[in-house]
Amino acid sequence: MILAVLFANSVGNVLIERFNGVPAEERLTWRSFLVKLGAENLKGVKNEELLVACHKSVYIVYTMLGDVSIFLVGKDEYDELALAEAIFIITGAVKDICGKPPTERVFLDKYGRICLCLDEIVWNGLLENTDKDRIKRLIRLKPPSEF
C-alpha cells in the first residue's frame, strides 16, 4: 500500500497530499514528520536524487524536483525500491506537465493536471500506470492504448 503521496514547497508547506489507509488522526504527524525530514535532508540535494528513511516497517522515499519536494510513504510490497520506482514515474509525469523541474509557481499553475496525473499513477493506494504516454492519454480521457 502506498500510504501517502505528498508534495511540499521549499519552506515545507504542503501542496498536494493523498493519503491511503492512514487514519485521520495520524495524518498530521505524518505530515510534520515528512516535512521535517525534508527540511533536514533536502538542502542542496540534486534534482531527483532519491533519499530514503524508514519508520518501523514503513518506508519513505523522497526527492526534490525544482522547488518542490515529493514524498512517498509505503509499506509491505511498496518498500524503498518500489517507492523509488513510483517516485520516478511521478517526477517524470510532473516534469512532462511542467516542461522542466517546476518552480512553485509553475507547479501551482499546472495544479489540476498534476492531480489528474497522480490519480492515474496511484489509484487507491496501489501503483497503477507507469508508462508516460499512457498516463498522458488517460488524463485527456483517451483509452490507454490507442487504436
Binding site: 514547497n9 508547506n13 505530515r31 501551482l108 489509484w123 508508462d131 483509452p143
Partner: protein, 1195 residues
Amino acid sequence: MAEASGKTLMDLISADPTPIPAKSSSSASASASASSTASPAAASAGSHLQQPMSTKTTLGEKKSKRATLTQIHNDTISVAKAALIPVKANIMPQRQRQKKKPVSYTQLARSIHELAATLDQKSSQKQLVNHVFPKLAVYNSVDPSLAPSLLMLNQQCEDRNVLRYVYYYLARILSDTGMSPGGGIPTPNWDALADIDAGGGVTRADVVPRIVNQLTSEASNSETEFHARRLQALKALTYSPSGNSELLSKLYEIVFGLLDKVADVPNKRKKGVFGTKGGDKESIIRSNLQYTAMSALRRLPLDPGNPLFLHRAAQGVSFADPVAVRHSLEILSELAARDPYSVAMTLEKLASPAGALQDILHLNDVLARVALARLCHSISRARALDERPDIRSHFNSILYQLLLDPSERVCYEAILCILGKYDNTERTDERASGWYRLTREILKLPEAPSKDKSNKTKRPQPLIKLVMRRLESSFRSFSRPVLHAAARVVQEMGKSRAAAFAMGLQDIDESVHVNSFSDVLDDAETNDSSHPEGIRRTSSISAGPGRNETIASLLASLMEVVRTTVACECVYVRGMVVKALIWMQSPHESLDELKSIIASELSDPAWPAALVNDVLLTLHARFKATPDMAVILLEIARIFATKVPGKIDADVLQLLWKTCLIGAGPDGKHTALEAVTIVLDLPPPQPGSMSGLTSLDRVSASDPKSALALQKLVQAAVWFLGENANYAASEYAWESATPPGTALMMLDADKMVAAASSRNPTLAGALTRLQRCAFSGSWEVRIVAVQALTTIAIRSGEPFRLQIYEFLYTLAEGGVQSQLSEMHLSNGEDQGVSGTGLGVLITPMLKVLDEMYVGQDELIKDMRNHDNANKEWKDEELKKLYETHERLLDFVSLFCYIPRAKYLPLGPISAKLIDTYRTKHNITASSGSTDPTVLATGISDLIYESTQPAPAASNSSGLDDDLVNAWAANLGDDGLLGNNAPAMSRVNEFIAGVGTDAPDVDEENVFSRPSVGYDDMWAKTLLENNELEEDDARSGSSSPDSTGSVESSISSHFGGMNYPSLFSSKPSSQATAKSSGSKYQSTYEGYGSPIREEPPPPYSYSEPQSRESFENPMAESSSRSYGSDDDEPRKSTGTRFGTALYDFTAGGDDELNLTAEEELEIEYEVDGWFYVKKKRPGRDGKMAGLVPVLYVNQS
C-alpha cells in the same frame, strides 16, 4: 491539519471567506499541534507574498496565469484579515488591495453551477478546465451539492478535458466517507453552503445513488465511441467505499460481466504489445477493457472461496496489457496465501516450463514480477500440495529464476521469499528452513525456452552464490534506496540464520564458517573506514578462494561490504546497516568491531531518536532469537546508554536489561548484571566537554539536555541494580545459611568487605557501585542509590546486610565523604558534603535495619536463656515472637518487596519457632500476603519456551528456586506477562513488524532551528525540566495503580523525591498478579478441563508449592480459594475489543466468517468461543456470531 499545511494551499490557490467553519471542522488534535507550526508557516507565507504584490499593478489586469497567481497571492491577505474583519466585509472584495473577486470555495461551487448551465459556450468549458476545476482540486472533498452539476456536465459535455475532471470529482464524491479522505484543505462546512440556490440541501445520500447509476450505465455502454469514458466510469466506481454491500455486488456484476465478454477470447499473446499502434482495433479495445476490468477487480475485496473469482484472476495472467497482468498476479498471490491448493490447480498449466508464467519473467513490469515471486513462494511452500511435488517444483524453479532478475526489487523479493520472510508473521521453522534452502539449494535453469543463448548461468548455480554476488554489487550502488533495501535483505538473512542456529540446523559448514569468519573479521578491523579500499579488498577476498568458497567465506566478504556501507551519508541507510550487523553477529564472534562501528555511528548527532530506539528494539528482537547473546547485546545497549542518553527510551532500555538478565540464565546473569551496571562506572559528564566523542567509555552528554537524560538513565540503572542485584547474585536472606551471629562478630569493616566479596563477588561489586553512587552522584542519583542499598540490605543475608548497615550509618552521619574521597569526582554540583540531607532519608531505613538487628539480638538472648534453662518455649513467648516477626515483615515490606512466606526478619534461627507457632494456631504462611495469586505471576512465561521448559503441573517439587527468586526480585511482574507496559507493547509491535503508527515529531523543531546561545540553552533546560517530569508522569501512568509494571515505568519515580521501593513494589505486583490472573481466566477452563495444549497456567504449580513448603493444612484453603475464583467468569460478560488473527470460515449458522485483522467487539465467551460483533457486515452480510477464541487477539 488545516492551519499549518492548509494555509499555503488556501493562501496560494484561493481565498476562503469561511475560514472559521473550516477551522472548526478540522480535528481537535490537529489544532493542538498545529498551533506550534502555524506561526512559522504563516510567517513564511507572509514573506512569500511581498514580492508578487509589487508586480501586481503591471500584470494584475490581464487574464494571464501570472495574474491569476497574483490574485491568488493577494487573496491570502484577505484570508489573513478574515480573522479580524467580520465575515460580511470579507465577502465584499477588499477594496484597498484588490479589485478582483477572491476565489472562495463557495464561488468555485457557484461557478460550476453557472458554467454547467452555459455549457454550450466554448468559454465556459475553457473556464472550467483552466480555472475552476484545478482550484477545486485543492480541497480535500467535494460537497455533494456539486454533484447535480457535475452529472449534468457528464451527460452534456463533449470536451474530453472537462469530462476527465468530472470523473475525477465524481470519484472523489463517491470515495468520501465523511472524513477527509485524501488530504488537502478541508472543504468549508457543507451546511454553510446550503444557501447556494442550485444545490441547496443536497446530501450525500441523495446524490450517491444517482452518481452510481449514471456511472454504472456508462460502464456498461459498449459503443466504441464511448470506450474511453466507459473505462473512466468504471474506474470512478471503484472509489466507492467497500462498506456498501449493495454497491459492491453491483460492481462485481459489472466487472465479471465485462470479463465474461473480453477474457475468454483465445489469446494470441504478443510480447511487448503495449502501446504499439499495430494491433487491430478490436483487440486493442478488448485489451483496454481487460485492463480496466482487472484493475477494478484488484480494488474490490478479495473473494477467496469463489471459484469464479479465481478463474477470472487467473485468466488475467495471459492478458496483453502488462498492468492487467500485474493486477491479476497480485490478486493470485493474495489468494494463494490463503488457499494455495486451488490457486496451484488453476495455474498448473501456466507454470510449466513453456507456460505463461515463464513469460512474465520477461514482462516489463517490476511489480508484476514481485507478485509472481510471492505467488511462487506461497505455492511452493504450501503443505496442501505435499502430494504434488511436480507443481511445487515448477513454481520453485520460477522463484529461483527470479533471483537473476535485472531489477533489484524483484531479486530481493525472491531472496526474502526464499529466506522465509513472506509477511510480518515470524515463524522460526519457516525462517530456519529458509536459511537451509538458501545455503543448500541450487538453481538449475529449465532447458531454456529463452532465446538468449548468451545466458551465462546455464551451469547450475548455488543460490547462496548468486545472492551474495548480487548483494555485494548492490552495496556498491550509489542509490540510497538500493543500499537501504540491500541492508534490509542482509538483516533478514541474519534473522533466518539466527533461526537456523536456534533450531540446530547448522552443520559442517558452520564450523568452517565460525573460524574463517572471525579471521576475516580481525583483518577487517584494520581498514574499514575507507570506502574504496574496503571494496577493493573485498573483491580480492571473494576472488581468492575460488572454487573452495564456503558459505562462511561468502558471508565474510559480504559482511565486509556491508560494513563499508556505514560510510553512506544517509543516516537511515546506516541505521539499517547497523541492524543488519546486529542480526548477522553471531554469539561466538568478536564483538569489538560492531561495538566500534556503533559507537562511532552514535556520535553522529544526525541520528534521530526514533531510529536509535529502533536499533534498541532490534537488540530486543535479536535477544529473542538467540538468548545466548544476552551479554553481547547488553554491551551494545550500554553504548547507547552512554553515547546518546538523550535519545533513547529509558523504558525500552530497562526492559532490555531485564529480559537479558533473566534470559542470560543462571550462568550468565552475573555477567549480565555487570554489563548493565557498567553505566554507573562512567565518570559523570563534564558539561561542555567534547573530548569524549572518540572514546567508548566516555559519555558524550555535552549538552545539558542529554546530561539530564543521562542522569535519568543512571537513576534507572541504580534502581535496576538495587532491584535485581540479589537475583543476579543468587543471594537471598531467606536462603542464607550464615547465622547472623557470625556476622556480628566481624564488625571490622575491612574484614567484612573481604569476606563479602569472597563469598559473592557479584553482589559485592554491585554494592561497591551503589555505595559510590550514594555519595558521588547527583542528588537524585544518591537518593535512589540509598534506596537501592536498603533494598539489597533487606534482601541479602549477612555479611552484606551488615556492610550496608554500616555504610548507611556513616553516610547519615556524614562521615563517608572523607573516607572515600579519593573516589570522589565532581560533576560540578554541590555534593552535600555533610550528608545531612540524606540523613533525613536514611533514618527510616536505618530504623528498619536497627529493629531487625535488635529483634535478632533478643531472639538469640531468649534462645540462649531457654537452652540454658532447658525449658520449652511457652505459647505467649511464641506469640510475642510471632508478633515481632509480623511487625517487622510489615515494616520491611514498606521498603521493598519480599516474599512474606519465606522471609525471616529475625534470621534463619527463628524459622523453627515461627513454624511451630503457625502450626499450632493454624496460620497460613501466605496469609500475610493478601492475594494468593501473587504467587502465580508465572515465571515460566518470562522465559521463552525455547529456553526454559515450563514446569509441569504435576511436578510438585520441581519449582525452580531461581525462578521464585527472580520473581521475588520483582522480575516476574513486568509487562512480559500482561503485555500492558508501554515499552513492552512497543517491543512486541516492533518484533511483530507492525508499523503504521505515525512517527513522533518534535513539533518545535519542524521548521527551523534558530541558533541559541549556550546560556539560553541552560535557561531552556530549566524550563524543560518541568516538561520532562510531565512526560514521566504520563509514561508512568501505568503504575503503580494500574496494571502496568513498576520496572518499565520506574523512571516516573525519579522525577522528584519519591521512594520507588515504598510505593512501587507491592501494590503493583499484586495488581499485575491480578491482571495476569484474569488473562488466564480466559484461556484456562478450570482444573478438570483437558482442552488446552498450552503450558499449564502458572498457578497450577504454585499451589503445590505453597502447600509443600509450609506443610500447613490450611494452605489447602488458599489454593481452593483461587481455584474458585476461576470458575466464576466462565461465561464472562462485558464488552471487549479485539482483532481477528486469521481468516476463519464459519462452520455453521451461528458462526461468523472472519477476515484477518478485522476489528471485532467481543460480546461474551462460551466454551472457547467468543460471540463477536463486527464493525460492519462481512461479505456474507452477517454482523455477529461465534468465532474460536484463538482466532481473536484481544486488545
